[in-house]
């Protein structure tokens, strides 16, 4: 049996906004095996980001289970969740979310502040991470001195510096131009294939999904079964110059 990293059972999330009860997720059951690169796709409001946040322990489900690495997230307190997040996950945001007043190196060192490493060791690890993403010459730069693509790469470095079990990315290329987006996606693919990182990426961009191994679709809070694809998406996919791979296989386009 494949080693399952993430598993959800009848996962549901509802919230109340302006007196309206909104169902973000409805009974989602799925599994993510170790080493997978999963792309979660769907139109806005489909619940893909909500699912990601629940996996990342950034939010609590209304009902159902989230088991990550065998750990039932519901049983953890707020404090424990925070520690768990730090140790096991690396999150990448659409708008990079770097701390403006900290340098690239300091930003990457942030997650390590919660570990027992000495400052020197923290610095070393962060430098290594930044080397990995190709920004070793930008260590002392502040976010405002970096391009969008560079910022996102710093964010990736930050996400991997703790050597997490999996990387979660929420529309990582949403704010980037095509070239930078490509660099970022190739980086994620490399992390997945060469370093064995499990990646879950939320995206609405079929081109980005093309870099993943598995694609799952969400529609109005429900996870569509594997193989099932929303009609509009097929049309969109075919219309693109690069046609998306739907299941299995791996082919990292040459750099």
């Amino acid at each position: 049996m494949m080693d399952v990293v993430i598993q959800t059972k009848k996962l549901s999330k509802e919230y109340v906004r302006d007196e309206n009860r909104v169902t973000a997720l409805k009974n989602v059951d799925f599994q993510v095996p170790r080493g997978d690169f999963l792309a979660l796709m769907g139109p806005s409001g489909s619940g893909k980001s909500t699912l990601l946040h629940l996996i990342a322990a950034m939010d609590r489900p209304s009902s159902g289970e989230v088991l990550v690495l065998g750990q039932d997230l519901r049983s953890l307190s707020g404090r424990e969740l925070a520690r768990w997040r730090n140790a096991h996950t690396g999150f990448i945001f659409q708008s990079f979310n770097l701390i403006p007043v900290l340098t690239a190196l300091e930003n990457v060192m942030l997650p390590l502040k919660l570990t027992d490493l000495s400052t020197k060791q923290q610095s070393e690890h962060a430098t290594t991470a930044l080397q990995l993403v190709g920004l070793e010459d930008r260590l002392q730069h502040f976010p405002r001195q970096l391009s969008g693509g560079q910022e996102q790469r710093v964010a990736i470095a930050r996400a991997i510096v703790t050597d997490p079990d999996f990387i979660l990315a929420d529309e990582p290329t949403g704010n980037l131009d095509a070239a930078s987006a490509n660099d970022v996606l190739m980086l994620l693919a490399a992390l997945n294939q060469e370093h064995g990182k499990t990646v879950v990426m939320v995206t609405h961009d079929p081109h980005a999904a093309h870099f993943a191994r598995t694609i799952r679709y969400l529609e109005k809070g429900a996870l569509l079964s594997e193989g099932e694809v929303q009609q509009d998406w097929v049309a969109a996919a075919i219309a693109l110059p690069f046609h998306s791979r739907l299941v299995g296989g791996s082919e990292v386009p040459a750099r």
């Binding site: 950034m58 404090r79 730090n86 900290l102 942030l110 502040k113």
Partner: protein, 387 residues
Amino acid sequence: MKIPLAYNLRNLAVRKTTTMMTALGIALSVAILAASLGLVNGLRTVFTGTAHPLQLLVLRKGANSELGSTVPTDAFAILRAKSGVARDGAGESLASQELVNVANLPSVDNPKGMNVTVRGLSATGIEMRSVRMVAGRWFQTGQREVVVGRAVAKRYPAARIGNRIRFGKGDWEIVGVMDGGQSALNSEIWGNFDQISADYNRQDSSSSVLLRATDPAALDAAKHSIEDDRGLNASAITEKDYYESQTSSGAPLEFLGFFVAIIMAIGSGFATMNTMYAAVTRRAKEIGTLRTLGFSEGSILLSFLTESVLLSALAGILGCLLALPLNLVTTGIGSMTSFSEIAFRFRVGVTALLSGFAFAIVLGALGGVLPARAAARKEILSALREA
């Protein structure tokens, strides 16, 4: 502290204008507090500097000031002969009978006139005080001559050597300026005892008698002996205690200073809260990010609270710096005991500065605690969504 201090310091630096404005508000409160403490301290220094540790002031029983006291001349003979009274090199008792009254002179601060203590005393009296002549000479017996203290010469334009001032029955010529160091004596005008007594029709009594004891034990014994002697009808107070009691003259100003400082602190506290709330709102996305990275609510709270305290610490230092120049300022205050003005210098010392700094820190903590809590309590997702 898990979240690096650089995060707070740099954020304060980035919002320079806001930081400075908020800090200035707190700084002013701190400065006023330190100034008030400096005023009281300055007064205390002048008064304690005046007193000789072994000297005893004898007044009429019930009088609590030289001005309101009468000691008959025959009592003087008894007092100076008491055992325990020290003697000078020539074998003379160190005992001085003195007449104290008030003259009214126009000053720099008060053109309408301010009261200055006039003291008639003998050469022995001069000997018993640590004053030295800095200009001119001492007054001569039988002459209508006076010597003024250094502060009097400075603050009263009429009190220059060669000038005449009017009190008692007529004019007196100023022949010298004396310096008593850090003491209230710099605010006095001295003349010959007999000459001044005559002017006030007090030939057979003085205001007070000053005695010096040989040692602390003798001082104590003399004090009791004088007070127990019913015939003398006198009370004895150590010079130290007498001057110490006069520090209460600064009480109204001290009270005013504290009142203003506290009210300003309240106002600054609200301003600090405002600034910090704005910072929390502006950095909501950062807070969400930090929480996502794994920082706990507690560390967020601590970080923002620290930022507030850093801000107020900066303000505290600024406030202390604002108050320090006061140490160069000499001013005068009226003593209700001597009914006249005492010149003193502000003394913003270590205690005042530390108090001011502590005050700032407390203010920063109080003003920052609610915004810090708000920061910590933010829901991760809603924080990330804030613009």
